[in-house]
């Protein structure tokens, strides 16, 4: 009742004097006592009304002022609110009424970082709309209703990139003393993705490196022992062993190089690239560097797409080159002699178009999907070869590190099994996507009976053309309007002839 007492100070003196006079009159003048009583009643009633009105008004004013008042400490200098706004970590003040009313848990203040990251409107909103992670809600509840401060680690998968956060919550002193139900708590969040990522990557790198290097290392040690012992004087064996050892050492070198580049990409994966790159130009560069290998196998490299130099996309040039390089490398590896590998570039592709199936019978799988509703248009590159294809059941594991499809004759075993993993991480950093589509070999096994929608259909007479197509797509900063895009079909072999 503290707040009500102040009202007494501003009761007009006139009404008090009036009442005094009235009472005095009742002693001196022969007035009817009942009349005096009625007069007193009226005065009392009006005064009571007046007091209630005043009290209400005061409360209203208090409520209006509340949000500012709670952070204003000194009349000079920045207010607490302004200070909090500038803090780079998300900071929120949450109000609550009672434990079982979830909707009443509201964010009444959110600084700029919190508004941006958790999509909170200026005027606040329900806490669950901002964060619905159960541990965090519990932590806030403990601060609100238990008066306990605490912290909790949580993972928030922001699309394809996991984010690690730590939330701190602490009770705040009550603002409105007359409203005992209202409670306040502070919620501060800290993005710990960087440090956690670093930790995890170091562990991954060590585990992978030690595991994968063990085999070639063991083989080299074995050969060294043989060369020292039984094969000491056998010239022919020595040459053979040395060349095997050389190949193993090369493999170790490649593994380390690939692992390092994978680690580096992972390290920057949550920082989107800022530069611009021309996709058609990147493709041309890669194709130029691979024509010799292609010619050895007599494989034609065909580029189909817009003219280079006109349509830059958001991207890191070196990384985009690596994506194209790895995909075309694989295609060349599996393409049969005298066949064609096509590289097609499409601009202004929407997300549904990017993942659409081009061949109804083939298997298709999205290996990586960008966050929905972030970019409208994508530039897509599709690398397609007429190799043996990949069976449906192997598709999901393709971009796993060190994964290689079993029983596949890849000719040379030059790969490390990291190529597609690198591709996936680069594309993820670029907020793009990766889709694989493949028609594997059709064999008369019971597998194929299962495949056809419950209908046991006869196998087609002619086996379909096997192929593998990887599509990578990268966000465009704007639509180019491909209606008038000049298209260009280039035969790598022909262009090489032109060059001399």
């Amino acid at each position: 009742m503290d707040n009500r007492r102040s009202v007494w100070h501003i009761i007009p003196a006139g009404s008090v004097i009036g009442v005094g006079v009235l009472i005095a009159m009742s002693f001196y003048a022969p007035l009817h006592p009942f009349l005096i009583f009625v007069a007193l009643l009226i005065v009392a009633y009006t005064m009571f009304k007046y007091l209630v009105l005043l009290g209400d008004a005061e409360e209203k004013i208090r409520a209006l002022k509340a949000p500012e008042k709670q952070v204003k400490v000194q009349p000079e200098g920045p207010s607490f609110q302004e200070v909090l706004r500038a803090v780079p970590d998300p900071v929120m003040i949450v109000s609550g009424h009672e434990p079982d009313d979830i909707a009443a848990r509201r964010v009444i203040f959110a600084n700029a970082a919190a508004q941006r990251i958790f999509h909170i409107a200026d005027r606040g909103g329900p806490l669950v709309s901002a964060i619905r992670v159960p541990e965090v809600l519990e932590c806030v509840d403990e601060a609100l209703f238990g008066g306990i401060s605490g912290s909790v680690d949580f993972e928030m998968s922001g699309g394809a990139r996991d984010q690690f956060w730590r939330a701190f919550s602490a009770p705040l002193p009550m603002e409105n003393k007359h409203d005992m139900a209202q409670r306040l708590a502070l919620l501060v969040l800290r993005d710990e993705t960087d440090s956690r990522r670093m930790e995890r990557m170091r562990a991954d790198f060590l585990a992978n490196a030690s595991h994968e290097l063990r085999t070639p290392l063991a083989s080299i040690t074995g050969f060294i022992e043989t060369l020292r012992g039984p094969a000491r004087d056998d010239e022919k064996a020595r040459d053979k062993f040395l060349s095997i050892m050389g190949a193993q050492a090369d493999r170790m070198g490649r593994l380390i190089a690939d692992l390092l580049s994978l680690s580096r990409i992972e390290m920057s994966e949550h920082v989107p690239p800022s530069g611009e790159t021309d996709l058609p130009l990147a493709v041309r560069d890669v194709v130029d560097s691979l024509t010799v290998i292609a010619q050895q196998k007599n494989v034609k490299l065909r580029i189909e797409g817009p003219k280079p130099g006109l349509y830059p996309i958001i991207g890191d040039r070196d990384q985009i080159l690596q994506v194209v390089q790895n995909l075309v490398d694989n295609a060349l590896k599996y393409a049969p002699q005298n066949s064609e590998v096509s590289i097609e570039i499409c601009l202004d592709v929407t997300l549904p178009q990017a993942v659409a199936l081009s061949d109804g019978k083939a298997a298709k799988l999205v290996l990586l999907r960008p966050d929905r509703n972030v970019h409208d248009y994508y530039a897509r590159i599709t690398v397609r070869d007429n190799g043996p294809g990949i069976k449906r059941e192997f598709l999901p594991r393709l971009a796993e590190r060190f994964y290689r499809v079993e029983g596949q004759k890849s000719g040379d075993r030059l790969g490390t099994g990291l190529g597609l993993a690198i591709v996936k991480h680069i594309i993820n950093r670029h907020r793009g996507g990766l889709v694989v589509e493949s028609q594997g070999p059709v064999s008369a096994s019971d597998d194929d009976i299962l495949e056809r929608d419950g209908k046991v259909t006869a196998l087609p007479q002619i086996a379909p053309q096997t192929f593998t197509a990887f599509s990578a797509y990268f966000p465009q900063s704007r639509a180019f309007g491909t209606a008038e895009t000049p298209r260009l079909v280039v035969d790598a072999a022909a262009s090489l002839k032109d060059a001399g």
């Binding site: 009424h97 079982d100 909707a103 619905r132 999907r369 929905r372 509703n373 059941e393 192997f394 594991r397």
Partner: protein
């Protein structure tokens, strides 16, 4: 509950959707933790998933009760009615999602005693990630009233099926290769099946959200790949 604060109609609707979002957060965590428990062979985590499931049941009952009360007392019309019905349907779907997550966790406890089958559990993890992202998108669509987001979840329904089919074949190969793994693989198979169902619930929720926001049903039928589940 307190009676001295008289809630307005709008407040009641807001509270409903806040509770659905809260329930969604719980269901998301249950699915993620269950899959984590499988991947890391973490029995304690699996047990806590099983123990937490009752919260979802209670929330569902609470939401249902509130919806019925709201319909009876306020007789909502048009948009408000759709909101109420959507809250009820989402609550049911989320409760089922929780049941499936609990089932996965229970199986995780059983297979933690068997030999580790890393490539297979990694595939379960991958499928779990995909399903979780669908759940997340659907809840984001609900909370933000985003029709296109709901639509895009709805349209990418077949992806989970592809993963399920691949995992099914992977499991078959594994079981044929080493018959001792059959019982553990069967558990993994049911986990995959549960994840697929959760994916289906996400699709259903996307449909309810679409209806809530637009008042229109989807006319086209859902894209379905050739799935093994169609055989059943």
């Amino acid at each position: 509950m307190n009676n001295h604060i008289v809630k307005t109609y709008g407040d009641e609707l807001d509270q409903l959707s806040a509770e659905v979002v809260l329930m969604g957060g719980l269901a998301e965590a249950q699915v993620a933790d269950a899959v984590d428990a499988v991947a890391r062979r973490d029995v304690a985590l699996a047990q806590s998933v099983v123990a937490r499931d009752h919260k979802l049941d209670e929330l569902e009952k609470d939401i249902e009760r509130k919806c019925i009360r709201l319909i009876a007392l306020r007789q909502p019309m048009a948009e408000d009615l759709r909101k109420t019905v959507a809250a009820m349907k989402l609550a049911t779907a989320l409760e089922r999602t929780g049941d499936l997550a609990k089932n996965i966790a229970k199986r995780a406890i059983v297979i933690s005693e068997a030999e580790p089958m890393t490539p297979l559990t990694r595939s379960i993890e991958r499928m779990g990630k995909l399903v979780s992202s669908r759940l997340r998108d659907v809840l984001d669509a609900y909370k933000g009233g985003k029709v296109e987001l709901a639509q895009s979840v709805w349209a990418s329904d077949t992806e989970v099926d592809e993963h399920y089919n691949a995992l099914f074949r992977e499991l078959l190969t594994y079981m044929m290769g080493d018959p001792r793994t059959i019982s553990a693989c069967t558990h993994l198979l049911f986990m995959a099946k549960n994840l697929e169902r959760i994916g289906d619930y996400a699709t259903n929720m996307a449909e309810h959200i679409h209806f809530e926001l637009t008042g229109e049903d989807y006319v086209e039928s859902r894209p379905k790949a050739n799935t093994l589940s169609n055989l059943e």
